[in-house]
């Protein structure tokens, strides 16, 4: 089992969700987060151009069994990347080992609980 954490652009959330559902990955958790990487994003506040040091992003967390890792990652990359070869700020995906998974309603553990 792996825990996939993807940090993506806010405007790509709909597309990523739709793509994941189409790929039959239907269980996700979404959080609004702020962060910064290499991207710069300006806003205007009473005529002053402001460069926020923390940029709003969306974080998606998905626990998957090993055989679904590739399809999940590929789907997110394809949907979250901006046109024409992507751009700075499109985000990152982290894949980490997942020790256990427990479904609260039934108490099932491991792969079948995912």
């Amino acid at each position: 089992m792996k825990l996939i954490t993807a940090i993506i652009q806010e405007d790509k959330l709909d597309e990523v969700r739709e793509a994941l559902i189409a790929a039959e990955i239907g269980r996700i958790t979404v959080t609004r987060v702020d962060g910064h990487g290499r991207q710069e994003d300006t806003e205007i506040y009473r005529g002053l151009v402001v460069v926020p040091n923390l940029i709003p992003k969306v974080e998606i967390k998905i626990g998957v069994n090993d055989e679904f890792v590739d399809v999940t990652v590929d789907t997110i990359v394809k949907a979250a990347r901006h046109k024409e070869g992507g751009k700075v700020g499109d985000g990152k995906i982290f894949v980490a080992p997942l020790e256990d998974c427990i479904r609260i309603s039934t108490g099932q553990r491991g792969g079948e609980a995912i």
Binding site: E10, D34, E43, N53, P56
Partner: protein, 434 residues
């Protein structure tokens, strides 16, 4: 608001008062009636308050990423129509017939330059009347914006409402409220703007919703209101502001004002109650959004009727209005078109009901023709407004879409209006990232 009928009444009243030697100066020109002027100034402020009220009402109903863009639609109308009205809108609306009565014109009203010292027969400076009317001109195009919320370019919107105000609102206002307007002369009852404002905005909204198409993902993706608290506050401001809208439309401070104010309150409360009960029966839950929708349904329905019905008539209009609007919105959901904030479903439907339904609950003695005849006159007014607004709106939509562009591209729509169009965030400046 029915300016000339009002004027006729006031001429008589004025003549009586003239005998008492108070309302007219020695040379026969009217003098300022401070009571009426004070109330009309207050009403002007109250109607202007409805515009930020509408901004909050609409702003709360869209998704977080579009809250500013949506509120900006209402505020932009204050700037754009606020200037157009002063330049030529008042003249086009309340001048004398030109071009076969399509709209009016009066050189004195151009830039409001010839009314500096005018006192109207109603006893108010003409500036007050011009500004009061200007607020109605502002709110009407702002209402339409709810139909295409979350998916239009700001530039296209600005040009659209400017043209709409010039070519749809001003002519309609002239037809219904100017002394020589053709619907006015037929005896159509439209006290505070059911036909001119709510039906025309409703028709425009319906056409725009079909022409511009649904938001990306509608109706499959759930699109939740970002802040219903703000929507409720906006609805509260609209309710309060509506007293200026309806009671101010009496252009006096007296009996008719009191009648209009009373029926406005009754219809709003009846509309809210009716919607609340209906939802309670059908869903076992009364929602806040349902409640404020009922308030609006009641207020819109009483708008054309405010001077012509008694409280029991307002009760009937308000109670029925919410039921009609509720099922109109159900029907929209079944048909699947995206009139995002239900401009037609509430403003269009309630105003049609109010304008036609008022015939059956008129105060005795209001009309000297048969109910059947009045019903036809009212229907004719509705059809003219619906038809004219729908056709002109379609022409303007095509014009704007083909030149500067109106509809946002899918990726722009997904990014959200606030960030993409205005480079701001409604709630972002309060967050860590400011």
């Amino acid at each position: 608001m029915p300016k000339s009928r009002q004027a006729a009444v006031l001429v008589v009243l004025g003549a009586l008062m003239c005998l008492a030697g108070s309302a007219f100066a020695s040379d026969g020109s009217p003098e300022v009636d401070t009571g009426t002027t004070a109330w009309m100034l207050t009403s002007t402020g109250l109607v202007l308050l409805m515009v930020p009220g509408l901004a909050m009402f609409y702003g709360g109903l869209v998704r977080t990423k579009n809250v500013l863009g949506t509120m900006m639609h209402s505020f932009a109308a204050m700037a754009i129509v606020g200037v157009i009205w002063m330049v030529c809108g008042y003249s086009m609306s309340f001048g004398s017939n030109v071009l076969g009565g399509w709209f009016g014109w009066n050189a004195d009203y151009f830039l409001l330059k010839g009314i500096d010292t005018n006192i109207m027969e109603a006893g108010i400076p003409e500036y007050v009347f011009a500004m009061f009317q200007g607020k109605f001109a502002i709110i009407t195009p702002a209402l339409i914006a709810g139909a295409f919320a979350e998916r239009v370019k700001f530039r296209g919107y600005c040009i659209f409402i400017a043209l709409w105000s010039l070519l749809v609102y001003n002519p309609l206002c002239h037809w219904v409220w100017a002394d020589d307007g053709f619907l006015f002369k037929k005896g159509a009852i439209d006290f505070a703007g059911g036909t001119v404002i709510h039906i025309s905005a409703g028709a425009a909204a319906l056409v725009a919703a079909f022409y511009l198409g649904a938001r990306r993902g509608y109706p499959k993706t759930a699109m939740h209101p970002n802040n219903l608290v703000m929507t409720l506050m906006g609805a509260g401001l609209l309710w309060v502001g509506w007293f200026g809208f309806n009671a101010g439309s009496s252009v006096e401070s007296g009996l008719i004002t009191a009648q209009a104010l009373t029926v406005t309150q009754v219809a709003a409360a009846a509309g809210a109650l009716s919607w609340m009960v209906l939802e309670g029966i059908l869903h076992r839950k009364a929602t806040t959004l349902g409640f404020v929708s009922g308030v609006l349904a009641g207020l819109v329905a009483i708008t054309p009727a405010a001077g012509a019905v008694q409280p029991w008539g307002a009760l009937v209009l308000g109670l029925v209005s919410s039921v009609l609007c509720y099922f109109a919105i159900e029907l929209k959901n079944k048909l699947g078109y995206d009139d995002t904030l239900d401009v037609f479903g509430i403003h269009g439907v309630a105003a049609l009901w109010g304008a036609i339904g008022l015939t059956f609950v008129l105060r005795p003695g209001t009309i000297d023709v048969s109910v059947g005849h009045q019903l036809w006159v009212q229907t004719e007014g509705c059809l003219v407004s619906l038809g004219y607004s729908a056709i002109m709106t379609l022409i303007l939509l095509v014009l704007v879409e083909k030149t500067v562009g109106f509809r946002l591209k899918p990726e722009e729509e997904m990014a959200g209006m606030d960030h993409f169009l205005h480079r701001e965030r409604g709630y972002g400046m309060l967050n860590l990232n400011s």
